[in-house]
Subunit: 175 residues, 2 copies
DNA sequence: TCGGGATGTGTACGATGTCCACTTGTGGCC
DNA sequence: GGCCACAAGTGGACATCGTACACATCCCGA
């Protein structure tokens, strides 16, 4: 893997050690870079979703973008989240702007603020949203859903994203 | 990994090839076996959840059991779903009974039947449920949630499971 | 009793991640 | 202009891994 990378660059395996202390370190760098790509994809899809004050649509866009990125760049996506060094420490991204996680927190906070989501649902909401799309991406990429045909994927993504949005925005109160 | 396994059994590396054609094949066997363990865990938690006709509680139990298993047996869980050979083809498990997937389909079908879930929400419901807990398990195990302290995990699991249940059972109608 | 299948061993090969010692090109400073 | 430090790359070596092949051993049924 490390050797393969150096081969593609046309350089000896050891050259990598001038820039990364470790195979793990290399992966971490890729991972970090990948996060900004995901953030970009999210912002594109959020813009395409229209009305910035339709928080439901904005949340959906984040989820869809996440999975779309995973499907379009399976190698990068896998690498980004297989690196056993923590990505996503806080809101910020590599480039100073918001990372994917920051974008998600943002929408959720605004949703509570604007009354789209009950405050009691807020704790753990980001984890729920993230886990769903992350799980879906992995199931589609490497899991048992690997063989789902292209055409059947979009409806699945929609189903997941809509269900989670409903759970967050319409659920709560009545336990 | 293959060599390590044979070492633990106290046998030469090649002995493995008498039983498995491949490293991949070995992993697939572990994976298959693992599914019955998960199914067992699910049924235990379902029984503990009480009333078999409270479909919400039954669904929650499945989700919690899935994540609990992952946390209790991280190695097995990782192996089971990293094996690049399809687990979970259908409802059935290794031993003839229902596998985890079968148990999930069961609850969802009954939920529609008993009117707990709108029929329009049924398509993709199993994927949504599965993806959420699968994603959560991986985030907690190897992902950025790895460092969440023991005590903070249970509330997180609850949040995910409840939100998804609400999305499935209370969502829909009003698109 | 004997033959054959199941199980295991030994040796070997290519590939990988990593370590070490060595070369080379480039920029700044006297 | 000459020198030196330093960043970047090379080559060789090692342990480890998955795997292939040829060979040994055990046990059971005819």
């Amino acid at each position: 893997m490390l050797r393969e990378a150096t081969r593609r660059v046309g350089v000896s395996p050891n050259a990598a050690y001038r820039h990364f202390s470790d195979r793990e370190d290399l992966l971490a760098a890729v991972s970090l870079h990948c996060l900004t790509l995901v953030a970009t994809e999210i912002m594109r899809e959020q813009a395409a979703a229209g009305a910035a004050d339709d928080l439901g649509a904005q949340l959906d866009a984040i989820g869809r973008a996440y999975v779309h990125f995973a499907l379009r760049e399976p190698g990068l996506f896998r690498t980004a989240f297989a690196a056993h060094t923590d990505p996503e420490p806080g809101r910020g991204g590599e480039d100073g702007g918001l990372g994917p996680y920051g974008l998600l927190l943002d929408v959720l906070d605004r949703a509570v603020e604007h009354g789209a989501m009950r405050a009691e649902r807020r704790p753990g909401a980001e984890v729920t949203a993230w886990a769903s799309v992350h799980g879906l991406a992995l199931l589609l990429l490497d899991g048992p859903l690997r063989s789902v045909p292209e055409a059947a994927r979009e409806p699945l993504i929609d189903a997941v994203v809509r269900t989670v949005r409903d759970g967050l925005f319409r659920g709560g109160a009545a336990d």
